[in-house]
Amino acid sequence: MPQTDGNQASDPRHDPLMLRKQQYALTMIAVAALLMIQLQNPWIPTAMRVIFVAAVLLGFLRWSAAILLALIQLDLLLGEPPRAESAQQVLCMVTSFLTIVLIMTVSRLRSAQELTGVRTIRQLLRSTLFSLLNPDPDLQSAHDARNSQGLVSGAAVFRTCTKVLILMLAAGTLLLLFPEDTGSGRQLGLTSPALRVIQIGLVLFTLYFACLVLPGEFRWRRLTRHQAGIYLRSLYVGWAHRDLRMIVRHRLRRRRRNARLRRRDARKNADATLKETS
């Protein structure tokens, strides 16, 4: 069925505005939960906590997923004890879960904002306050109906959380496949954590290799003729670039010299003609 604007607004499950509102709500919940967890962390000094809270809020308002991730990673790096107890590990897992959910929703809202000019959270809050103070009865009832339907369905929230859980399970499985080898001692100056880094790194490298080669070669078979031609030309130019450049520059220098000589001769002839006539 062809897509038209009329169909979009009538179906709340596919209403982009409704999905965005769900995502806003989810991010706010994630931020609040994260802050509550971090504020209760006994290992972090108070000043750091204040800075952390301010930085997270700033990153959230400015929609920067990388900054949020960096801050939370820094917090974990400084605050998480090595080889923590079970309770602490559970807390860290919950923190990771909330962080990933936060980063996902912030990234999604940022892309939507870049594409469609979705309002920032400050403008959204301002417009919500305005609509609360100046409610239009007809608009409000339709708005409430859509809101309640959207919250009840919660498809986007459920999908996001499920995705995060699956990814965390995969990461956990990878860690369990390469446990820390504490019993073998030091050899060649290599500690067991470093060995674990190399092992997991190799696995990721193989994954990268597979992802690079297989889809890449499949995509390469779908090249257009122009793409194939330009690739072959660039290869040849790359191999013979120094020689070709030398030839081209030599020709350009010769052409400029000839042009200079011609101009000089023309000037001489003009001067000679002028002298003859005078």
Binding site: M1, Q8, A66, L77, I103, S107, S111, P215, R222, L235
Partner: protein, 566 residues
């Protein structure tokens, strides 16, 4: 990959390594999850690119017709409807589809860009545009950009759907050219005009003395009786008039934005005059003159001749190669923009590889050199040049400029900066060689002519000055053979000065006043020169209706006829 995904990946890898080294399981879990998330999104995106993007098809209709070519008049609205379909799967959200509209067309209603927010197999959108000038408009296709929902990966493709539109110059449809006031005994036939020379018409021209050989039935008996000598009646000639329009076809008339060029105005004037002449039943022809040659259409009748003339006029408005000049950063930026729009897949670093060089050392120059090398590769491929020409394009500015301007012209860019140097964009006088060719064209036309031809020269001769003497002999010879020569000088509106601030308004006013005074002086000078030749001249601006020009010409003709001068 976008910078966002790169930053997250780097943070993920760094966090995982640090966490493993310090045995911090929370940090490791978080970082590994981020890495796996990016890998999963990448795999999903690749699947989308290989299935969805590869199977997109576009179908465009212009005024409800889906043909690959079409004809439309300049200034008339054009309804475009675009249908984008995906044969495998659906067009998913975060897909942006843009129908590339040629610059000669201006979108007036709707938008040529559609952002997909709900997955669907068929996407429809439409818009209304209007041609700004006569010529040719080519719709190359649609630019499709897909990205994943998190902004990690972007893929651009250009879906080719080529359709060419021929834009004919608009012309005013004139009504009956004959006056409604009855000045003569009988209205002439359609296409017949009265010439005040002896002939076989129905209107009396004069009564003269009888000479042996005059037919007896032409003797005016009553006048002869009164004068007591034989007198003969002479009648006027009823002849068809042939109108030949001379239009300039050089590069200088193609400078400027679409719809505001000399050639646009000349085409509009010429189209209006030919339509008026053909509507009155006269024959109309066209001669196009340039610096090197003349070519034209022999005068004929009817709608077929009119469309033939309109097509030739549209050809004069089609962009030719630009003048010589310099390779500038602005030209490079314009070429890059066009390549990013039309051929984004050719700019991919995987296929368009740049040889590794150390020089230039400065980072911004090095970046500019890399961009130029990529553009050189695209130009090489599209124009079928050799691989060695790739290196020449990188180092030879003139060679690169020529090819860049051709590529931009074929893409439909108008002859404005950066295609033109700023210094070259000023008013340029007509080339003396063009006037020589015009004289040749006039001689050829009255060499073929019979009698009472009307030669209308549509060209901007304000800056011609002394070089106008090149056409004086031809014009005077044409006048001596009882033909009429009329000059129509199309005038463009003055360009606004590019200044800002309070002083700018005073400065702009002064500049405009000086420009207007100079133009008036030149008009008076040109009028005097043309009158000394014996011809007439009319000036017309962009908004000046053609009917006023024709009425002016008609008035002049009748006035001179009354005075006994052709």
């Amino acid at each position: 990959m976008t910078p966002r995904s790169v930053f997250l990946l780097v943070l993920g890898i760094a966090g995982a390594a640090l966490g493993l080294l310090r045995n911090q399981s929370g940090l490791v879990l978080l970082s590994l999850t981020v890495i796996l998330w990016i890998v999963a999104e990448w795999a999903r995106f690749q699947w989308r690119v290989n299935t969805e993007l590869a199977s997109l098809t576009v179908r465009r209709t212009m005024n409800d017709k889906g043909d690959s070519t079409g004809v439309v008049f300049s200034g008339s609205p054009l309804r475009i409807a675009v249908k984008v379909a995906c044969s495998r799967g659906q067009v998913r959200p975060f897909t942006r589809i843009r129908d590339v509209v040629p610059e000669i067309l201006q979108v007036e209603q709707g938008s040529s860009v559609r952002l997909v927010t709900v997955a669907d197999q068929l996407i429809l959108f439409d818009y209304v545009c209007r041609p700004l000038a006569a010529g040719t408009a080519t719709f190359p296709g649609c630019r499709v950009r897909i990205q994943d929902p998190y902004g990690f990966f972007i893929a651009d493709r250009f879906v080719v759907q080529r359709q060419t539109l021929r834009i004919l110059p608009e012309h005013e449809v004139s009504g009956n050219a004959h006056s409604q006031i009855k000045r003569i005994n009988a209205l002439p036939q359609h296409g017949i005009h009265q010439l005040q020379r002896a002939g076989l018409g129905s209107e009396l021209l004069e009564i003269r003395q009888y000479v042996p050989g005059d037919p007896p039935k032409s003797i005016a008996w009553k006048v002869s009786a009164r004068r007591d000598q034989l007198m003969t009646r002479e009648y006027e000639s009823d002849v068809p008039i042939r109108t030949v329009i001379f239009v300039e076809e050089t590069r200088r008339v193609q400078r400027g934005p679409w719809g505001q060029r000399q050639c646009d105005l000349s085409a509009r004037v010429a189209a209006g005059i030919s339509q008026a002449a053909l509507a009155a039943g006269d024959l109309a022809g066209l001669v196009l003159f340039s610096e090197s040659a003349t070519r034209g259409i022999i005068p004929g009748w009817g709608d077929r001749t009119l469309y033939h003339i309109l097509e030739r006029l549209a050809d004069t408005c089609t962009m030719n190669a630009g003048p010589r000049g310099r390779w500038t950063p602005q030209l490079q930026a314009a070429l890059l923009t066009v390549c990013q729009e039309r051929w984004p897949e050719l700019l991919s670093v995987q296929v368009n590889r740049v040889p590794l060089t150390v020089f230039p050392l400065l980072p911004w120059k090095h970046r500019a050199r890399i961009v130029r090398s990529r553009l050189a590769g695209i130009v090489c491929q599209l124009h079928g040049l050799k691989a060695s020409d790739w290196v020449r394009l990188v180092h030879d500015d003139e060679f690169m400029r020529q090819h860049a301007i051709h590529l931009l012209s074929e893409a439909g860019c108008p002859a404005t900066p950066p295609l033109l140097d700023e210094s070259a964009a000023a008013e340029v006088p007509i080339d003396p060689r063009s006037l020589t060719q015009l004289a040749v064209g006039i001689r050829q036309s009255f060499g073929r002519a019979r009698d009472n031809e009307r030669f209308i020269i549509v060209a901007d001769l304000l800056h011609a000055d002394e070089s106008l003497d090149a056409i004086r002999p031809a014009v005077q010879l044409a006048l001596a053979r009882h033909h009429r020569v009329v000059f129509v000088c199309p005038l463009l509106n003055p360009a606004a000065a590019k200044h800002s601030g309070d002083d700018a308004s005073r400065l702009t006013k002064l500049l405009r006043e000086a420009w207007s005074a100079d133009r008036e002086n030149r008009q008076a000078d040109l009028r005097r020169r043309v009158r000394t030749m014996g011809a007439t001249i009319a000036f017309t601006a962009a908004g000046h209706p053609i009917s006023l020009v024709l009425a002016q010409l008609q008035r002049k003709r009748r006035g001179r006829a009354i005075a006994g001068v052709h």
